[in-house]
């Protein structure tokens, strides 16, 4: 069925307003879109790692989740959800389940790329029928914007601050989507809340309804940590995609598919300029750093084009 916003408005929202995410946060946009891809008759068990999403959507005595929700700890959303999924299969064997339940784990880049990586890798390798969604805001935002392995090179964070000697985070961003593709699971995708959210929605649908483990890496801009003008979230996402900093692609049964190829690939400075976390790069001394960033963006983009047969 073709993506149609009007039709989709008929689906009941599975996450409510009244949560405490910052005004303009990218994470709930991602979450509501992913949950929208569930069939109305399917129940969901959602496990969320400690982080912005979890503390803000489930603060006693309130919960913004209409499905079943569990938070246990920071590094184990994948393990916790894998246990729930195993329970489902066990109870189904003895006729104790009704209907279909889908298993979704959400984690920020902290709880996914770093502390949660082991649990993610283990759960994916074991082949549980679940989806792991990383809402990637590129730093440990909940504790106040500390660097993660997902933080882009030279970004200013509180543990990789731009100082007189060191211009921000010195390592390039870890490529988790590629790592997950190397797990050889049925479905991996890199996506973002782009334009009318079709890319994100359809990938969420595929992830949910492809049997076995699936992984979605979703760019989720953070107005506090990235320091852009809050209303411009969708424009920031657009720039990330048009500069090829955050390409949209899928890996289906090991086959790489590019979902969006910019007609005019924009220079990466277009993406960096509106964000305060990169502001220190726009000085004469730091020109070389901008070139470094561009070079790496191009290298990864070209490699992706090769993999997708689009070179």
């Amino acid at each position: 069925m073709a993506y149609n916003l009007k039709t989709l408005t008929e689906k009941e929202e599975r996450i409510t307003g009244g949560h405490r995410m910052c005004a303009g946060c990218g994470a709930p946009i991602v979450v509501r879109t992913v949950l929208r891809a569930l069939k109305p008759e399917d129940h969901a068990v959602v496990g969320v790692a400690t982080g912005c999403l979890e503390v803000s959507t489930c603060l006693y005595p309130y919960t913004a989740w209409k499905d079943s929700f569990i938070h246990s700890a920071f590094e184990n959303a994948a393990a916790t959800v894998s246990g729930a999924e195993a329970a489902y299969r066990a109870l189904a064997k003895v006729g104790k389940v009704k209907g279909t339940t889908k298993f979704i784990a959400f984690g920020g880049d902290g709880g996914t790329y770093d502390i949660g990586f082991q649990a993610l890798s283990g759960a994916m390798e074991r082949g549980h029928d679940m989806v792991y969604v990383c809402y990637d805001n590129e730093a440990y935002m909940n504790t106040g914007i500390q660097r993660s392995s997902s933080t882009p090179k030279y970004a200013d964070t509180t543990t990789s601050p731009a100082g007189s000697e060191i211009p921000g985070k010195v390592q390039f961003k870890k490529d988790l989507t590629m790592i997950m593709a190397a797990h050889n699971i049925p479905y991996v995708a890199q996506t973002a809340p782009f334009r009318n959210l079709k890319d994100l929605y359809e990938k969420a649908e595929k992830a949910l309804y492809t049997p076995g483990p699936a992984f979605l890496n979703v760019l989720a801009p953070c107005p506090r940590g990235w320091r852009y003008n809050t209303p411009q979230l969708m424009e920031i996402v657009r720039l990330a995609i048009e500069t090829c900093v955050w390409p949209l692609y899928e890996v289906i049964e090991g086959k790489f598919i590019l979902n969006y190829k910019p007609k005019n690939k924009l220079p990466v400075v277009e993406y960096l300029k509106p964000q305060g976390r990169f502001r220190h790069l726009f000085t004469k001394e730091n020109e070389g750093l901008l070139e470094e960033i561009q070079k790496e963006v191009d290298r990864r983009w070209n490699r992706l084009l090769e993999l997708c047969g689009e070179a």
Binding site: L59, S68, I70, A84
Partner: protein
């Protein structure tokens, strides 16, 4: 008609697990608990159980997966030791506070460092504040019996707390002894079905678990948890009564061995109690009024009952197979003596830390403890409250 067999502690536990046939087992290997998931995996592979076995990639994930499974509504079990228990430390607290009746065997092994794979109680003692019910076992029979009872204790509506069943690594886990097993159907009937009130897979009543709790609420949630542990005291005895009807074997908070007219005694847990009973018998042959108490339930702590049970002794040695590095005795000593302050003020109490890292404990060493106690009883003086047994000074 009970089934007579010869099994190691790990084999016995695996058999109990097979008979319980839990919905999910998520486990990671670590010596000396490894055999438990190994034997159990064979049952799974042969279709003898309906269990979903999740071969997780670490003990932290083992407990996390157990939490997810139990929260979802499945009866869940696991097993570990030492570093594995230590690795899942934060999750133990979370399992208890989420009120999930997970049942775990802890095959007691020393905590590193240095790394040591042999028996002592530092692992489960380290988890004593986690909110788990702790049952300690002298031998394979007790391990088997306690595991089966643990399911009923944990899942009781007034408890809803996880239970760890602790038995000694290698000494109990790997040594083959006689055992009396219960028939499969009788175990099944005894444990019944798991019927949680709140569970994630209840699609008609979706639920959120594990919220962020502000200061306005956290204390009340903990208070409720403490009440559940208090209820466990009662439930443990109720379950034991039912178990006695089923098997004829009696269980309480502790076993009192030749305590009725004892003047000196020791408080001890797990396998060394067996050695100590032999020593008590030898002393009795000499006409010495020696006895011992073998503690089964450490959490919840039977404060009043244990205190009262020691009150008629002249002197007691409280034996710890763990150091808490307080410099003032081991964990068992601290808690027992606190109870004695209320109920056994006139009894002299001394601490012995023994057997760390699997150091063998010989009858003559236990005998020397009783000799010390007899001296205290005779003189009314305690020369040394805090002692080590069996270390080369």
């Amino acid at each position: 008609m009970a089934i007579k067999d010869k099994l190691s502690g790990n084999e016995a536990i695996a058999v109990a697990m097979r008979q319980i046939d839990p919905d999910v087992v998520a486990a990671f290997p670590i010596t000396p608990s490894t055999e438990v998931p190994q034997y159990f995996s064979q049952f799974v592979a042969n279709g003898q159980v309906h269990t979903e076995f999740v071969a997780v990639e670490s003990e932290h994930s083992a407990m996390s997966a157990c939490i997810g499974a139990e929260a979802a509504g499945a009866r869940t079990m696991t097993a570990t030791s030492s570093q594995g228990l230590a690795l899942m430390w934060e999750m133990l607290y979370i399992a208890a506070s989420l009120r999930l009746p997970i049942v775990m065997s802890v095959i007691n092994r020393a905590l590193s460092g240095p790394i040591n794979i042999h028996n002592d109680h530092s692992d489960s003692m380290g988890a004593r504040d986690s909110g788990w019910i702790q049952l300690y076992c002298e031998n394979n029979q007790e391990a088997y019996d306690n595991l089966i009872q643990a399911i009923r204790i944990a899942e009781h509506k007034d408890v809803q707390l996880p239970v760890m069943v602790c038995y000694d690594g290698f000494i109990t886990s790997h040594a083959v002894e006689n055992i009396e097993l219960i028939e499969d159907e009788k175990v099944k009937a005894f444990i019944g079905e798991y019927r949680p009130q709140h569970y994630l897979l209840d699609r008609d009543n979706p639920i959120s678990m594990g919220p962020l709790d502000m200061p306005a609420y956290y204390f009340e949630h903990k208070r409720a948890q403490a009440e559940a542990m208090k209820n466990a005291k009662r439930v443990i005895l109720e379950v034991a009564q039912e178990f006695e009807k089923l098997t004829g074997r009696k269980y309480g908070y502790f076993e009192e061995y030749k305590m009725e007219d004892a003047e000196v005694g020791i408080v001890i847990m797990n396998s060394t109690a067996g050695t100590a009973k032999f020593v008590v018998n030898e002393l009795r042959k000499q006409g010495i009024k020696a006895g011992l108490i073998k503690l089964r339930v450490f959490r919840p702590f039977p404060f009043e009952e244990l205190g009262k049970a020691l009150s008629h002794l002249k002197a007691v040695a409280i034996m710890d197979k763990a150091e808490s590095f307080s410099t003032a005795g081991g964990p068992l000593f601290t808690e027992v003596r606190s109870a004695m302050f209320d109920y056994a003020k006139d009894t002299k109490a001394v601490s012995y830390i023994y057997g760390l890292g699997g150091r063998d404990v010989r009858p003559d060493e236990i005998m020397s403890v009783y000799q010390d106690l007899l001296e205290i009883a005779r003189t009314g003086q305690v020369k040394s409250t805090f002692n080590y047994l069996g270390v080369r000074e």
